[in-house]
């Protein structure tokens, strides 16, 4: 009788245990130390027939930040760290002035890539569906201010983040696709140097 009771209890709990929740997603995304990959960014502007497409490479390092290396149609390297955002100017990194709203947006960007759901929950209503290998996270802005900028942000992924879509209130949207992302490689010496500088 007692055994049956425990069995029933376990049965009733198991659906909860199996559902893929935000905490699990966070843990999953926070696991890799370093992620290398390619990206394609498409900016869909309402007034343009075709999107503004740019391509490049990215390096996301858990304890350092993000290197965003734009390769076409123009070459430009960016670095986002806790200190702020920097742009490579010749051989040196140049910190960009800490524009309050811009800095906030970049904090969001980093939070999205690193799956820091607690950072996102502050500003957005989060809804997660799917399973660890194929999930979809929808962010709806909470504050009046964010609502004036974004309608919604959609993030799709499996082991890692695969696609980010930002829908702006003005009708423009940006799609970021991460390709060939891998957590296998450690930071190269040059990359370490870029983060250290």
């Amino acid at each position: 009788m007692k055994r049956l009771f425990i069995w029933l209890l376990l049965c009733s709990l198991s659906p909860l245990a199996q559902a893929f929740d935000l905490q699990q997603l966070s843990d999953q995304l926070a696991r890799p130390e370093v992620i290398h990959g390619q990206f394609i960014q498409e900016k869909h502007l309402r007034a343009l027939p075709q999107p503004l497409t740019s391509k490049g490479r990215f390096v996301l390092a858990k304890n350092h930040g993000l290197l965003w290396l734009l390769q076409t149609p123009l070459q430009q390297d960016y670095r986002i760290t806790a200190q702020g955002i920097a742009r490579r100017d010749g051989n040196a990194w140049q910190m960009l002035p800490n524009k309050s709203a811009g800095a906030e947006q970049n904090r969001l960007f980093l939070a999205v890539l690193q799956g820091d759901s607690s950072g996102l929950q502050r500003d957005f209503e989060l809804s997660l569906s799917g399973e660890p290998q194929q999930w979809k996270l929808t962010l709806t802005p909470r504050s009046v201010l964010l609502k004036q900028v974004f309608n919604q942000i959609n993030i799709d992924g499996g082991e890692l983040v695969q696609r980010i879509e930002l829908l702006e209130t003005q009708g423009d949207s940006t799609v970021l696709r991460m390709l060939d992302a891998t957590a296998a490689q450690p930071l190269s010496e040059a990359e370490q140097h870029d983060f250290a500088e």
Partner: protein, 779 residues
């Protein structure tokens, strides 16, 4: 034996007293006519009306706004705490406006940016557009791909050229404050905490009597509440300084007034051994009443600092009854009216000389001292009238049997003096004294600073410094005032000044400035932008390559060409203009005027140089001006002092003759010199206030000299009278020296030192066989 006139006097006086009381009641009908505004006390240095308006405009937020940083290690908790406190403050009813979020009106911002595309472009962006249109387009292309450029308020298709984004990015930084986009709060990170900015605008200003205390109380409650939530509050406001100043003033009035009162009452009881002699305190009370009524009648309000300094009058006012009460040692039996008759000439002379001394203060350009002079002179007249008209009637039939020990003490003192003079003759003593003075004067330093007027608690200045460090806001009290015939000229003149200020910033002598031409450029520059834009189609191929339709670019260009010239008034209407609005003074009788406010100044002297050769540009540096006025006034104070001495000599020639009159005045002057030297030996600086204190010493010291000179009842009795008068006066001025306001304490110290020397030197006045040589040299 009482004269008929002496029967009438008390009644007449009582009628006068009732009238004054009625006047006082009428003056206080709407509450206490008190003021705590420090600026009412300092001289008006600028006769210029526009400058005054500008100054008030710049000071207004300091005196009305409270800036609070709500700190917590957790950003969310800090924001939540700021919200809770903000709501409580709003509900308190003390504030017009409590703000902890920035509620941006995005549509209005967009409109302003779009309409200001020609006028609001920064100088650097304008230059690039005009001189390097190729680079301008290149940067725009880059920005379109840049995922991190931050969101632009205006969508790309409304601004293909990206002018609004450039305007947005060139707006002056709000210090280290960041905008929390989720909550709308303004947050700065420092010391491991997030600090949320909360701003409240009080309903009244710092010069209300009650409001500052209420605000300080509310802040204290909020501090307690924050610390319960592991948070911390930092606050800065003129209101808090005012509250602390008021608390300090009332504490000091209690200390000085209460201490002097108790001391004097004890002294009276010890010396005269009759409780009835406490009636001698009635002139003091009446004196205070007269002083307050005269002050309010003349100035409309009375400053709390007048009250603090005025409470020292207690010790001077009680001297009048002491004059004739002390005759009870020689007059046996002592009867009030005859004793008064005997001392009346000396009493009247003493009133006249002391009043001259106080009223000399009234001629200085300092409203503070004028008030104190009027308060004191009126108070002394009141005390004198009471002592002469009313007190003898109250003391009628009093049988005074004073204690003998004070008399023996004075006899003893005189014997010591005789013994001393027998060994060391007066000229030698004088030489010794003068060398003491010379040495002290050698060490004397002067110091004049408005900050001496404020006894600011350390924790308030510390918090203000922390806030400046955390937020990066370091407002300075100096600012530039720019005048011009019209708006275009005004903006041109600002541009000329800003070029110089930019150099100071590059040299790190200045952190920043806010100027109207950062918001709107002169019409000529707007025209140049329009012309440069017309040439842009030659360079915009890269944009077309991206797929931007040529029709869209041409449409935008046509729209830009059609934008009207923006003037200052139009520019100030939009939400981005909020910080600039106070800077615009608008049309004046001679044209238009505006201000440029400054941040983080290191070297004030450098600023003055910046305005040189720039027409219509003027640096307004109230503190610097005041400090200069202070220094200049020292000279005129010394002149006043000499003038008051001449007046007193003239007054004294009539009863005493020329040589005695000179001697009576020379002694207090020597005492003042000794007091000055003592300040030097003590390492205390000579301030304007100590100098004014010494002015007073001359007046009161003359009083002692007269008492000694008259010798009614013998040398010992006269010395005793002087001693009693001096001790009571010391009590009140000595207590002032303990004040935490440097100016007040300096004043008290100088006066008490001077009085001590006056007392010690007083016996020399009456000893005809020991003439004091070379009186002229002692000045």
């Amino acid at each position: 034996m009482i004269l008929p006139s002496e029967r009438m006097l008390p009644r007449l006086f009582l009628i006068l007293l009732l009238a004054v009381l009625a006047l006082a009641g009428w003056q206080w009908r709407n509450g206490a006519p008190l003021s705590a505004n420090l600026m009412e006390l300092v001289p008006g240095t600028s006769p210029d009306a526009l400058e005054l308006i500008a100054e008030q405009r710049m000071q207004e937020p300091l005196n009305r706004e409270v800036l609070v940083l709500v700190g917590h290690t957790d950003r969310q908790q800090a924001i939540a705490l700021a919200q809770t406190l903000g709501e409580q403050w709003q509900a308190s009813g003390l504030f017009d406006k409590v703000q902890w979020t920035l509620q941006a009106d995005v549509p209005a911002l967009r409109t302003q940016l779009l309409n200001g595309r020609l006028a609001m472009l920064s100088a650097a962006d304008r230059e690039q557009l005009i001189e390097q249109p190729q680079a301008f387009i290149q940067q725009r292309v880059q920005a379109l791909f840049d995922p991190f450029s931050g969101f632009s308020l205006v969508p790309n298709q409304d601004d293909w050229l990206g002018l609004t984004g450039r305007i947005q990015n060139s707006q002056p930084q709000r210090g280290a404050i960041q905008f929390d986009i989720g909550s709308g709060a303004l947050v700065a990170d420092a010391d491991g905490k997030s600090w949320v900015m909360l701003r409240a605008r009080a309903q009244g200003n710092a010069f209300d009597m009650n409001l500052p205390l209420q605000v300080a109380e509310l802040l204290q409650r909020s501090r307690d509440q924050a610390s319960q939530a592991q948070g911390q509050l930092l606050a800065a406001s003129g209101l808090l300084y005012a509250a602390s100043g008021q608390q300090q003033a009332s504490r000091e009035i209690t200390w000085v007034g209460g201490g002097a009162t108790i001391g004097i009452l004890m002294l009276l009881l010890l010396a005269f051994r009759r409780l009835r002699v406490w009636l001698a305190f009635v002139p003091v009370l009446v004196g205070m009443l007269f002083g307050a009524v005269a002050c309010v009648a003349l100035f409309g309000r009375m400053h709390v600092m007048t009250l603090v300094l005025g409470s020292s009058l207690i010790g001077v006012a009680v001297d009048y009854p002491l004059h004739y009460l002390s005759k009870s040692w020689s007059l046996k039996p002592w009867r009030s009216w005859p004793a008064l008759r005997l001392t009346l000439p000396g009493l009247s002379l003493s009133l006249a000389t002391t009043c001259i001394g106080y009223l000399a203060l009234a001629w200085t350009p300092f409203p503070a001292l004028t008030q104190i002079a009027i308060f004191s002179a009126a108070g002394l007249v009141g005390a004198y009238l009471t002592a002469v008209c009313l007190l003898p009637a109250l003391l009628k039939g009093a049988d005074l049997r004073p204690a003998q020990w004070p008399l023996r003490l004075c006899e003893c003192l005189l014997q010591i003096r005789q013994a001393l003079l027998a060994r060391v003759p007066t000229p030698v003593l004088l030489v010794l004294l003068l060398s003491f003075c010379a040495g002290g004067l050698w060490h004397l330093t002067t110091k004049n600073d408005i900050r001496q007027w404020i006894g600011t608690p350390q924790h308030l200045t510390d918090e203000a410094r922390d806030i400046a460090r955390i937020t990066g806001f370091q407002p300075t009290s100096q600012f530039f005032l720019i005048r011009a015939d019209d708006q275009p000229q005004l903006l041109e003149r600002q541009t000329a000044l800003n070029e110089r200020l930019d150099q100071l910033i590059a040299l790190e002598k200045l952190q920043g400035y806010l100027s109207l031409n950062q918001l709107v450029s002169p019409p000529a520059d707007q025209q140049k932008v329009r012309q440069a834009l017309a040439r842009l189609p030659d360079f915009w191929q890269p944009l077309l390559d991206l797929g931007v339709p040529v029709a869209a670019l041409q449409g935008e260009l046509a729209q830009l060409q059609a934008l009207p010239v923006t003037d200052i008034d139009a520019a100030l209407a939009g939400p981005l203009a909020e910080p600039y609005r106070t800077l615009w003074l608008g049309p004046t009788t001679q044209g238009v005027a505006a201000m440029i406010s400054l941040q983080g100044l290191n070297d004030a002297a450098l600023l003055r140089v910046q305005a040189v050769d720039l027409p219509g540009v003027q640096l307004v540096d109230r503190l610097g001006d005041l400090n200069r006025v202070f220094a200049a006034t020292q000279v005129s104070a010394a002149e006043l002092k000499l003038a008051s001495c001449v007046l007193i000599v003239l007054l004294l020639i009539w009863p005493f003759g020329v040589s005695a009159a000179l001697r009576i005045v020379a002694l207090p002057l020597l005492a003042a010199l000794c007091s000055l030297a003592s300040l030097g030996w003590l390492g205390q600086p000579l301030t304007l206030f100590s100098l004014f204190g010494l002015l007073l010493v001359t007046a009161i010291g003359v009083d002692y000299a007269i008492l000694m000179r008259e010798q009614i009842g013998g040398a010992a009795v006269s010395l005793l009278g002087t001693l009693l008068a001096a001790v009571t006066t010391w009590l009140s001025f000595g207590l002032l020296a303990l004040s935490s306001t440097p100016a007040v304490s300096n004043f008290g110290l100088a006066v008490s030192l001077g009085l001590a020397f006056s007392f010690m030197l007083a016996p020399w006045v009456g000893r005809q066989e020991h003439p004091i040589p070379a009186q002229e040299d002692q000045r």
